[in-house]
C-alpha cells in the first residue's frame, strides 16, 4: 500500500494537534514569559478545532478501516474515546492557563499536553499492536514530564520519578506480552488478524507461552489502569503532581489504558473461549474494595480522589468479566462519565489549592481536608462544584455517575453475576461515606479562615464545562448511551 497525502485526511484532528504542538514549541522560544499565556489560548483553539472535525465527521456510524497500512481505523469506539480525551485535555488546558501563567516553561507544558493527547488519540484508533504501543509511549512520555512539571517542588519530582519508573516497567511488561502474541501468531500485528488467528488456534493461547503473554499484557494494562495490585503508583502520583495534571492522568491517560485493554485484552478474551472471567472478577472486586476502603482514611483530598479512581477502575474492570456488548456499553459510558467527574473534581480541588496558595504562599499540604472546612461559606461556587462531582462519583441520581453505574450494573446483573453487583453496590455505598465527609467539611464545619476566595475565570470555565458534561450525561443520557452502544458494537460484530 502506497503512502499518499489523501490517506492522511481522516487524521486531520491529530495532524492539527501535531502542527499546533510543534509550532507552540518553536514560537515559545521567542516569547516573553508574560505573553506565553497566549500559547494556552492557542492550544485551546487547536483542541477545539480538532474536536469540531471529529464531531463533523460523525460519531455514530463512521467506519473507516485499514487506514495507513491497516494500522489505524476510525470507528464509533475511536471517535468516542478521542472526544473524551480531547475534552479532558481541553478542560486541563483551560484550567492550566491560570495555574501556570507565571511559569517560564509554559510553551513546553502546552506542547506536552498536546503531544500526550495525540498519543491517546492514536491509541484510541490503533488496531495494530505496534501502533498502539507507540501511541501509548507518546502519551506516557509526555505525562511523565508533566507530572514533574513544577520542578522546584520535591513532591512533584518524587511523583514524576515514581510515575516514570513504574510506567517504564509496565510498558516493558506490556511490550513483552505483545511480543509473545506476535511470536505465537507467526508475525501478525493487526488485532483483527490476531483475533482470527487465535480463535482458530485456541490451544496456542492456553499454552504456557500464550498464558505468559496474557499475564504480561494484563499486568501491563493493569498498571496503566491502576488495578490492584498494580495501583501503588496512582495515589502517590496523583497526590504529588499538579492538580490539573492529576486530572489529565486520571481522566485521560488512565482511560487510554482502558480503550487499549478493551481493544486488545477483550478481543483476546473473546477469542480464547476459555473461562478466565473469575480471574478478572477477583481483580475487579479487590480493586474496588481496596480502593474504597483505603480512600475512607485519607486526609488529603487528592489522595482520596486517587483511591476513588482506583475503585472506579474496579467497577469498569467488571467489563472483562462480563464480556457482553451491554457491559461494554456500560464500561465505555463509565469511562466518559468518569473522565468528566474526575477531571472536574481534580480541577476544582486544584482551583481551591491555587487560591489557598495565592492567599498564603507558604501553605503546606493545601489539599488537606482541613483546608476545605467551611468552603461553602468561603466560595459557594467551588464548594457546590465539588459537591456535584463527588456526588456524581458516588452515583447519586441526575449525574453521569448514576447513569453509567446503572447501565453497567444492569448489564453485569443481566449475565447473572449477582455477587459482583452486590459487592459493587456495597462499595458504592461505602464510597458515599468518604465523599459525604468532604461535603460535611465544606458545608457544616466552620471556615478555617474568613477570607473569601475569588476563583480565576479560566478555572470557572473549566469547572462549568466539566459540570455541564456530568449533568448532561446524567439528565439526558439517551444520546450518550446510544453512542456508547455503537462504540461497543465495534468489538462485537
Amino acid at each position: 500500500m502506497s503512502f499518499t497525502c489523501e490517506s492522511l485526511i481522516p487524521f486531520a484532528p491529530e495532524i492539527i494537534l501535531v502542527i499546533a504542538a510543534l509550532s507552540i514549541m518553536i514560537i515559545g522560544l521567542f516569547m516573553e514569559t508574560s505573553s506565553k499565556k497566549l500559547l494556552g489560548y492557542f492550544s485551546v483553539v487547536a483542541l477545539l478545532s480538532s474536536t469540531a472535525i471529529i464531531i463533523a465527521k460523525g460519531v455514530y456510524e463512521v467506519e473507516l478501516t485499514g487506514l495507513l497500512a491497516g494500522s489505524l481505523s476510525i470507528d464509533p469506539m475511536s471517535q468516542f474515546f478521542k472526544l473524551t480525551f480531547l475534552l479532558v485535555s481541553l478542560l486541563v488546558v483551560i484550567a492550566s492557563i491560570k495555574e501556570f501563567e507565571e511559569h517560564s516553561n509554559q510553551d513546553e507544558y502546552y506542547t506536552l499536553i498536546l503531544l500526550g493527547t495525540i498519543g491517546m488519540m492514536l491509541v484510541a484508533s490503533a488496531v495494530d499492536i505496534v501502533t498502539m504501543f507507540i501511541g501509548f509511549e507518546l502519551a506516557s512520555l509526555s505525562t511523565y514530564v508533566l507530572a514533574g512539571f513544577n520542578k522546584n517542588e520535591p513532591k512533584n519530582i518524587e511523583a514524576a520519578i515514581k510515575y516514570f519508573i513504574i510506567g517504564a516497567v509496565s510498558s516493558t511488561l506490556l511490550l513483552f506480552g505483545l511480543s509473545y502474541m506476535y511470536g505465537l501468531s507467526g508475525g501478525l500485528t493487526n488485532i483483527d488478524e490476531l483475533a482470527n488467528f487465535f480463535s482458530m488456534n485456541t490451544e496456542l493461547l492456553i499454552s504456557p507461552m500464550g498464558i505468559m503473554a496474557l499475564v504480561m499484557m494484563t499486568a501491563g494494562f493493569g498498571f496503566k489502569m491502576a488495578l490492584v495490585p498494580f495501583h501503588m503508583w496512582a495515589p502517590d502520583v496523583y497526590q504529588g503532581s499538579p492538580s490539573v495534571i492529576s486530572a489529565l492522568l486520571a481522566a485521560g491517560s488512565k482511560k487510554m489504558a482502558f480503550v487499549a485493554a478493551f481493544r486488545v485484552l477483550l478481543v483476546a478474551i473473546i477469542a480464547m473461549k476459555v473461562e478466565i472471567g473469575i480471574l478478572f472478577a477477583i481483580l475487579a472486586v479487590v480493586t474496588m474494595t481496596l480502593g474504597n476502603v483505603v480512600a475512607v482514611g485519607q486526609k488529603s483530598i487528592k489522595r482520596m480522589l486517587a483511591y476513588s479512581s482506583v475503585a472506579q477502575a474496579g467497577y469498569i474492570a467488571m467489563v472483562f468479566v462480563v464480556v457482553t456488548p451491554e457491559a461494554l456499553t456500560g464500561g465505555i459510558l463509565y469511562v466518559m462519565s468518569h473522565a468528566f467527574m474526575k477531571a472536574g473534581a481534580f480541577i476544582t480541588v486544584g482551583a481551591v489549592c491555587y487560591v489557598l496558595l495565592k492567599q498564603n504562599s507558604k501553605a503546606q499540604d493545601v489539599d488537606h481536608i482541613d483546608n476545605f472546612a467551611g468552603l461553602g461559606k468561603r466560595s459557594p461556587f467551588l464548594a457546590f462544584s465539588i459537591l456535584v462531582f463527588l456526588f456524581a462519583l458516588a452515583g447519586i441520581p441526575f449525574t453521569a455517575g448514576f447513569v453509567s453505574k446503572f447501565i453497567l450494573f444492569l448489564a453485569v446483573l443481566k449475565e447473572g453475576y449477582l455477587y459482583l453487583v452486590v459487592i459493587a453496590i456495597l462499595n458504592s455505598a461505602l464510597s458515599l461515606y468518604y465523599y459525604a465527609r468532604v461535603v460535611k467539611y465544606m458545608y457544616v464545619l466552620p471556615p478555617a479562615s474568613d477570607e473569601k476566595m475569588s476563583v480565576p475565570t479560566p478555572y470557572v470555565i473549566a469547572i462549568v464545562l466539566a459540570m455541564f458534561g456530568v449533568l448532561a450525561i446524567g439528565i439526558v443520557p439517551e444520546p450518550f448511551v446510544n453512542w456508547a452502544t455503537s462504540a461497543a458494537e465495534v468489538l462485537f460484530y
Binding site: 456526588f391 444492569l410 455505598a429
Partner: protein, 492 residues
C-alpha cells in the same frame, strides 16, 4: 396533548428552590419559598377536585409520558391514581405549613428553605413516578436535602445522625435497586414502566418472585421504617431541625408505605405457594413495629425521641394493614399514612416549639407548661389526642379500619396490635401529664408562648385532623376504591 399539571407540581418547588437559594435576605427568601410551595398546593387541590376515583387498578390520570432512554425502556412517566392522589395532597399541604412554621429561621435561611423545597419536590416525584428509574431517582433525591438539613441545622450529635441516615437508607435503596434490576430482567418486557412490570410479574418463576419481592420489600421496610431496621430514625429525628423532622415523619416515611401499596401488594396474589409466608412476614414485622415502637416510646426521656418512636409504631399499622390484605385493612393502612402525616407533623412542631422556647426536651425537666404556654398546650393536646387514637379524629378512623380489617384475616396479630394501642394511650397521656400538667418547674424561668407563625400551621393541621376525623370520606373513599382494585385483595 399531554397533561402538564403533574410536571408543574413537581418542578415548581425545584424552581422555587433555585430562586430561594440565590436570594440572600431571608425576608424575601421565605416569601418566595412560600409562594412556590403554595402554588403546587392549589394545583393539587384542583386535581383532587377533578380526580375520578372510580377508575380501576393501574388506571392513571393526568398522565404524562415522554421517552427518556429508549434503548433501556426508560420513560419520564408521571401519573396519579387512587393510591397516590391523597399522598400528593398530604405532601402539598405539609410543605407550605412547614415553611410557615420555619418563618423565624435565622441561620442561612435561604438555603434552609431551598432544601425544604427540594425535599418536597423529591417526595412529589416518588408519589408520581410510574417508571422505576424515575422512581428510584426521586427516592434517592430525597436523601440529599435531608442529609444537609440534619448536618447543618441539626442538634449536637448531628454528624453521626446525618451520616447514619444517609448511608443506612442509601444501602437499603441499593438493595431495592437490585430487586428492580432483577424484576426488569426476569420479566423481559424491556421497560421500567411500573404497570407493565407488575403485569409481567406473574410470568416469572416462584423463587425469583420471592427474591425480587424481598429485595424491594427491604428497601421499603428501612424507609418506613420497620423494626429492626428503624435505628436510623430516632437518631435522625432527634438531631434534625423541626422542619426536617416534620417532613421526614410526615411524608418521607410515607414513601415506604406508598411503595408497599404501589409495587408490592399487587405482587402478592402472584406469589403462589409463598403467599402465606410473605403475608406472615409482613404481619410479623408490622406487629413487631407496633409493639416495639410503643414500648420504646414509653421508655423515652426525650420528648422528641418519644414522638419518633411513636412514628415507628404508627407505621407498623400501615404494614399490618397491608399484610391483612383485605379491602378494609388495606384502605385503613392507606388512610393511616395520610392521617399519621398530619398528626405527626403537629407533634413534631409542638416539640419543636418546646425545644425552642424552653431549651430542653427532657420530659423530667419540663412540667406545668400549660400555665406558661396555654396556646401551645391546647394545640399539642389536640395532636396527642389524635395520635393516641381518640375517636372523631382521623387517627382513630385509620387505626380502627386497620384493626377491624386485620382481625378478619389475621386475628392473632390484630389482638397483639390492640395491646399496643393501650400502651400508646399510656405513653401519650403520661408524657402530657409530666411535661405539660402538674406544677410548673420554676427552674425553667420565664417562658414565652408559641408565636403566630408557629401556632397557625399547627392549628390548621389540628383542624384538618378533626375534619378528617368527622368526615373521612373525601380521602377514605379514594383509598377504599384503591384498595378494592388491587388484584387479589379480599373483598369483604
Amino acid at each position: 396533548m399531554q397533561s402538564i399539571y403533574l410536571s408543574l407540581i413537581l418542578f415548581l418547588p425545584l424552581i422555587g428552590a433555585a430562586l430561594t437559594f440565590f436570594i440572600k435576605p431571608r425576608e424575601i427568601a421565605r416569601v418566595v419559598a412560600l409562594v412556590f410551595s403554595v402554588i403546587p398546593l392549589f394545583i393539587t387541590a384542583m386535581l383532587f377536585s377533578r380526580f375520578n376515583s372510580d377508575l380501576g387498578f393501574l388506571q392513571f390520570q393526568f398522565a404524562e409520558n415522554y421517552t427518556w432512554i429508549s434503548s433501556l425502556g426508560i420513560n419520564y412517566s408521571l401519573g396519579v391514581d387512587s393510591v397516590s392522589m391523597p399522598l400528593i395532597l398530604l405532601n402539598a399541604i405539609l410543605c407550605p405549613l412547614t415553611i410557615i412554621y420555619s418563618w423565624g429561621e435565622h441561620k442561612d435561611a435561604n438555603q434552609y428553605f431551598a432544601l425544604l423545597m427540594i425535599l418536597q419536590a423529591g417526595v412529589f416525584g416518588v408519589f408520581m413516578s410510574l417508571d422505576f428509574f424515575l422512581f428510584y431517582i426521586f427516592w434517592e433525591l430525597t436523601l440529599i436535602p435531608l442529609y444537609f438539613l440534619i448536618s447543618i441545622w441539626g442538634g449536637p450529635n448531628k454528624d453521626y445522625a446525618a451520616i447514619k441516615f444517609f448511608i443506612y437508607t442509601h444501602v437499603a435503596s441499593l438493595v431495592m435497586l437490585l430487586g428492580i434490576f432483577a424484576l426488569y430482567f426476569s420479566t423481559n418486557v424491556n421497560t421500567f414502566y411500573i404497570p407493565d412490570l407488575l403485569r409481567a410479574f406473574a410470568g416469572i418463576d416462584d423463587v425469583m418472585k420471592v427474591a425480587i419481592f424481598l429485595a424491594i420489600f427491604f428497601g421499603f421496610m428501612v424507609k418506613m421504617p420497620t423494626v429492626p431496621f428503624h435505628t436510623w430514625l430516632p437518631d435522625a429525628h432527634v438531631e434534625a431541625p423541626t422542619a426536617g423532622s416534620v417532613l421526614l415523619a410526615g411524608v418521607l416515611l410515607k414513601m415506604g408505605g406508598y411503595g408497599l401499596f404501589r409495587v408490592l401488594l399487587p405482587m402478592i396474589q402472584d406469589m403462589g405457594t409463598y403467599q402465606g409466608q410473605i403475608i406472615t412476614i409482613m404481619a410479623f414485622f408490622g406487629v413487631l413495629s407496633i409493639l416495639y415502637g410503643t414500648f420504646a416510646a414509653l421508655a423515652q426521656t426525650d420528648l422528641k425521641k418519644m414522638v419518633a418512636y411513636s412514628s415507628v409504631s404508627h407505621m407498623g399499622f400501615v404494614m399490618l394493614g397491608a399484610a391483612a390484605f383485605n379491602v378494609i385493612s388495606v384502605s385503613g393502612a392507606m388512610f393511616q399514612q395520610f392521617s399519621h402525616g398530619l398528626i405527626t407533623a403537629v407533634l413534631f412542631m409542638s416539640v419543636g416549639v418546646i425545644q425552642h422556647n424552653v431549651h430542653t426536651r427532657i420530659i423530667s425537666e419540663l412540667g406545668g407548661l400549660t400555665k406558661k404556654m396555654p396556646k401551645l398546650s391546647f394545640i399539642m393536646m389536640g395532636g396527642f389526642m389524635a395520635s393516641l387514637g381518640l375517636p372523631l379524629m382521623c387517627g382513630f378512623v385509620a387505626e380502627f379500619l386497620v384493626l377491624t380489617g386485620s382481625y378478619l384475616t389475621l386475628p392473632v396479630y390484630a389482638i397483639l396490635a390492640f395491646l399496643g394501642i393501650v400502651a400508646t394511650a399510656g405513653y401519650h397521656l403520661w408524657a402530657l401529664q409530666r411535661a405539660m400538667f402538674g406544677s410548673f418547674n420554676e427552674k425553667l424561668g420565664d417562658i414565652k408562648d408559641t408565636v403566630s407563625y408557629e401556632w397557625i400551621p399547627m392549628g390548621i393541621l389540628v383542624l384538618l385532623i378533626i375534619y378528617f376525623g368527622f368526615n373521612p370520606a373525601p380521602v377514605s373513599d379514594i383509598f377504599q376504591a384503591a384498595s378494592s382494585v388491587i388484584p387479589g385483595v379480599m373483598q369483604i
